[in-house]
C-alpha cells in the first residue's frame, strides 16, 4: 500500500523531471508549472489542513509573503535568492503570529480567522504603496539567469519533491501521528500528552515556509505582482481545493488533486470559454457528492475494501504490519 504510493509519487517526479525532454512549448511549461506548483502548495496546505485537520483558508498570506519578500528585498539591493529566503522568514513570522492567535480557536472559528488575517495583509499591501508599490504593482526579479519557464518549472518540480519528502517524513513520524490525533480529537490528543498548540504551530511553520517558496517561484515566473493577485483568497482556496479534492490527509492526494484540477481547469477554459467556471464548479460538486474522501482517499478506500484486510481510510503509513 504504502510502497505503491511512494512509487506513484516517484513516477510523477521522474515524469516531471523528464518532461523538458519532450515538451518544447513555454505554454505547456506554464501549465505544468501550475500543476507542480499547486501540488507543492497543496502538500504544504495538507500538513495543516489534512494531517492536523485545521482548515486554513488564509495561506495566501504566506504565499504573498514569499512573493513580496522576493520583490521588496531584492529591490532593496539584496540578492534574489537571499531575498526569497527573507520572504520565507517573513512568512514563518506571519505563521507564528497567525497560529498564535488562531490555534486557540477550533473549527470554523479557526478557518474564518485565517481568512481574516490574509485579508488584512492584502488590504495593507494595497495601501502601503511606499513598501509594496500598492496596486500599481511591483517588479519581481527572475530567480535564474535564464529565467525561462523551463527552469522555473523544474524548480516547481523540485519544490514538489521537497514537499513530498516532508509529507513522507511527517506521515511516518511521531509528529505525524500527533497531528492526526489532533485532527481526530484534540481532547484525546491532550490526554496522551500531546502539546496540541505546539504541534499545530510546528506544522503551520513548515507549511508556511513551503508556501512562501511557492509564492516566490510564482512571482518570479510572472515577474510582476499586485496584492489582489498573490494575496487573494483565490490562492488560499485553490490550495485547499486541490488538497481536499485529491484527498485531505493522504500522502498522494494533493499531487493527484493538482494534476487533475489544474489540467482540467486549463482544458475547460480552452474548450468552454465563458462556461468553464460553471463546469469547474460542477466538477467540485460531483467530487464532493460521489468521492467523499477526495479522489485519492476514495480510491484507496475502494481498493482496500476489495482486499481482505480492513484498514482505516486515513491510514497513516508506518510500521503497522508485524
Amino acid at each position: 500500500m504504502r510502497r505503491a504510493q511512494l512509487l506513484i509519487a516517484i513516477l510523477f517526479l521522474i515524469l516531471g523531471l523528464a518532461a523538458p525532454l519532450v515538451v518544447r512549448s513555454d505554454y505547456l511549461f506554464q501549465v505544468l508549472f501550475r500543476v507542480f506548483l499547486f501540488a507543492a502548495l497543496g502538500l504544504a496546505w495538507n500538513l495543516v489542513g489534512g494531517y492536523a485537520g485545521q482548515l486554513s483558508l488564509g495561506h495566501a498570506a504566506y504565499f504573498g509573503a514569499g512573493a513580496y519578500g522576493l520583490a521588496v528585498f531584492s529591490k532593496a539591493g539584496i540578492h534574489p535568492w537571499l531575498a526569497l529566503l527573507l520572504g520565507v522568514l517573513l512568512a514563518v513570522l506571519f505563521a507564528a503570529l497567525i497560529g498564535g492567535v488562531s490555534f486557540r480557536l477550533r473549527g470554523p472559528y479557526f478557518t474564518l480567522a485565517t481568512i481574516a488575517f490574509a485579508e488584512v495583509l492584502r488590504v495593507a499591501a494595497k495601501n502601503l504603496a511606499a513598501v509594496t508599490g500598492g496596486d500599481v504593482g511591483l517588479q519581481v526579479p527572475g530567480l535564474f539567469v535564464k529565467s525561462s519557464g523551463r527552469s522555473l518549472y523544474l524548480a516547481a518540480v523540485l519544490l514538489t519533491a521537497v514537499a513530498l519528502c516532508i509529507t513522507a517524513w511527517v506521515s511516518r513520524s511521531k509528529f505525524g501521528y500527533y497531528l492526526m490525533a489532533i485532527r481526530e480529537d484534540e481532547d484525546t490528543a491532550l490526554s496522551v500528552g500531546v502539546n496540541a498548540t505546539r504541534c499545530k504551530l510546528r506544522a503551520l511553520l513548515i507549511s508556511a515556509a513551503l508556501t512562501a517558496l511557492g509564492g516566490g517561484l510564482y512571482g518570479s515566473l510572472f515577474l510582476f505582482i499586485v496584492p489582489d493577485q498573490v494575496l487573494s483568497i483565490d490562492i488560499s482556496s485553490e490550495m485547499a481545493i486541490v488538497a481536499m479534492l485529491g484527498g485531505a490527509g493522504t500522502f498522494l492526494g494533493p499531487l493527484i488533486g493538482s494534476v487533475i484540477l489544474e489540467s482540467a481547469a486549463e482544458l475547460l477554459k480552452n474548450i468552454f470559454h465563458e462556461a468553464h467556471l460553471l463546469i469547474y464548479g460542477l466538477l467540485i460538486v460531483l467530487v464532493v457528492l460521489f468521492l467523499p474522501e477526495g479522489i485519492a482517499g476514495t480510491l484507496a478506500h475502494r481498493l482496500r475494501r476489495k482486499s481482505a484486510i480492513a484498514a482505516p481510510p486515513f491510514k497513516a503509513p508506518g510500521p503497522v504490519s508485524s
Partner: protein
C-alpha cells in the same frame, strides 16, 4: 491492490504526457495555412467581465469588416480568445498559450491596466508584439519594452490635459483626488498629483477607495470638509454612478467635477438606466472617443454596435475595434505573419484617418491620441476642450445640488 494503484497512476501519467506532446506538436501546423490567428486576451469572466464583453463586441465588428473585405494576405482572420478571468496570472498564462500553442504572431489586450502590466514581461520575453487597447495606467509602458504599443492615451496625458483645461478656465487653487485602489486608479492619482503640483494647484485631499462597494458617503463627507475647488475622480463606471449619486446626498459642491475618463466617460454614465442620470450633469471628463466625435466612421461604428448589442458603445469597445484594425494594417504592411516584421510595421504604422483619429506610435510605442475634455450637458457629452475641437462652451462653476 498494489498493481491496481500503480496502473491507474501509470494511465494518468501517460494521459498527461500524451496531451502534453499532442498539444505541443499537432496544433502548430494548421494555423498558417488559410487562416491568420490573432491572439486576444481579455476578461470574459470575473469582476471585469462587463468590459471584456465590450472588448469582444468591438473586436467582432472589426473582424466582420476585415473578413468581408477579403481578410488579410488572402487569408481569413480569426480571433483566438484567452479569458484571463480578470486575474493577472491568468493573463500571463494566456500569452504562453497563444504564442506557444496557437502560434499567434501578435497579441491584443488585456483589458485592465493590472493585467496588461502583468503580460508585458511575457510578450517581451517571447518577442511578440502586444497592442494595448484600454490600459491607461502609465506603468504599462514603463519597462520600455520594444514590443509594446498602446492605442489609448495614458494617465499622464489625462492629468496633463485636465490641468491644462483648468488653467484655461481660471486656474482653481485646490483639488481633491478620489480614486479606486487598483492599478488604474493609483496610476491616475499619482499622475494627477504630479501634474497638479507642477501647475501650482494644491492637492488638499487624496482618497483611495475600495471599488464596487455600496456606500461612499463618509468618504465624500471627508472631501467636503476640505472644500476643494476641483475634484478629480479615477473610477470605473459602476462607482462613478454611485459616487455622483452620493455626492448629492452629502451635498458636495466643488466648482469642477473632473475625472480620468473611464467611468465618467462611458456612454452609459449620463443615462438614467445604466448610469448616474441627471447626477452626471456638469461633470467634466477626459475622453478618448465619443460616438459624436468628428472622426470618420464614429457614427457608423455606433450604429453597428447598437445593432449588435442594443446599446451604445463605451470607448473601450472602439479601442478594441481600432486595435484589431491597427493590427491588421500592420500585418498587411509587413506582408508576413512574422512577429518581428509585424513589430517593425507597427513602428512605422501611419493611419491618418481612423474612427479613433490618427494612429501613429511614438518611439516608445505610445499612440499620440489626442485627449478631449467633455462635459455632460443636457444628458449628452459635449467636447468643451481643446478649443479647436469644442462643440460647446463649458458651464462653470458647477451649480450646487440644491440649485439644480
Amino acid at each position: 491492490m498494489r498493481s491496481a494503484h500503480a496502473s491507474s497512476a501509470a494511465v494518468l501519467a501517460c494521459a498527461l504526457a500524451l496531451t502534453g506532446c499532442q498539444g505541443g506538436v499537432s496544433q502548430k501546423g494548421e494555423g498558417s495555412r488559410n487562416k491568420i490567428k490573432i491572439g486576444t486576451i481579455t476578461s470574459l469572466t470575473g469582476s471585469n467581465a462587463a468590459f471584456g464583453q465590450a472588448h469582444k463586441n468591438g473586436y467582432a465588428i472589426a473582424l466582420d469588416e476585415l473578413n468581408s473585405r477579403g481578410g488579410l494576405l488572402g487569408k481569413t482572420v480569426e480571433l483566438d480568445y484567452y479569458d484571463d478571468q480578470s486575474r493577472p496570472d491568468q493573463a500571463v498564462q494566456g500569452v504562453s498559450k497563444l504564442v506557444d500553442l496557437d502560434n499567434v504572431p501578435i497579441i491584443l489586450g488585456a483589458y485592465s491596466s493590472e493585467n496588461t502590466r502583468a503580460i508585458v514581461p511575457a510578450v517581451t520575453q517571447k518577442q511578440v508584439p502586444l497592442l494595448m487597447p484600454t490600459a491607461t495606467a502609465d506603468n504599462v509602458m514603463e519597462t520600455g519594452s520594444p514590443w509594446t504599443f498602446r492605442i489609448c492615451a495614458g494617465s499622464g496625458a489625462y492629468a496633463t490635459a485636465t490641468v491644462a483645461f483648468l488653467k484655461g478656465m481660471g486656474a482653481p487653487k485646490t483639488m481633491a483626488i478620489i480614486y479606486e485602489n487598483t492599478n488604474f486608479g493609483q496610476s491616475n492619482a499619482q499622475a494627477m498629483q504630479a501634474a497638479a503640483k507642477q501647475a501650482g494647484i494644491e492637492v488638499v485631499d487624496t482618497e483611495a477607495y475600495q471599488a464596487s462597494t455600496p456606500d461612499y458617503k463618509a468618504l465624500l463627507q471627508r472631501v467636503k470638509a476640505r472644500s476643494p475647488a476641483v475634484i478629480y475622480f479615477a473610477s470605473y463606471l459602476l462607482d462613478a454612478s454611485t459616487l455622483m449619486r452620493q455626492a448629492e446626498q452629502v451635498g458636495l459642491n466643488p466648482a469642477y467635477y473632473t475625472s480620468a475618463g473611464t467611468g465618467f466617460a462611458a456612454a452609459e454614465f449620463p443615462t438614467p438606466d445604466k448610469g448616474a442620470g441627471r447626477n452626471a450633469e456638469y461633470t467634466f471628463s477626459v475622453s478618448q472617443w465619443l460616438p459624436s466625435a468628428k472622426w470618420k466612421g464614429s457614427k457608423e461604428f455606433d450604429d453597428k454596435y447598437v445593432q449588435r448589442t442594443g446599446s451604445h458603445p463605451a470607448y473601450h469597445a472602439i479601442e478594441a475595434y481600432i486595435t484589431l484594425l491597427a493590427a491588421a494594417e500592420a500585418i498587411k504592411k509587413a506582408n508576413s505573419t512574422d512577429p518581428k516584421a509585424i513589430r517593425d510595421a507597427l513602428k512605422q504604422l501611419d493611419m491618418p484617418e481612423t474612427t479613433f483619429g490618427p494612429i501613429r506610435f511614438d518611439p516608445k510605442g505610445q499612440n499620440q491620441h489626442p485627449v478631449l475634455i467633455t462635459q455632460v450637458q443636457g444628458g449628452q457629452y459635449k467636447v468643451v476642450w481643446p478649443a479647436d475641437a469644442a462643440e460647446s462652451k463649458p458651464i462653470i462653476p458647477t451649480p450646487p445640488w440644491t440649485k439644480r
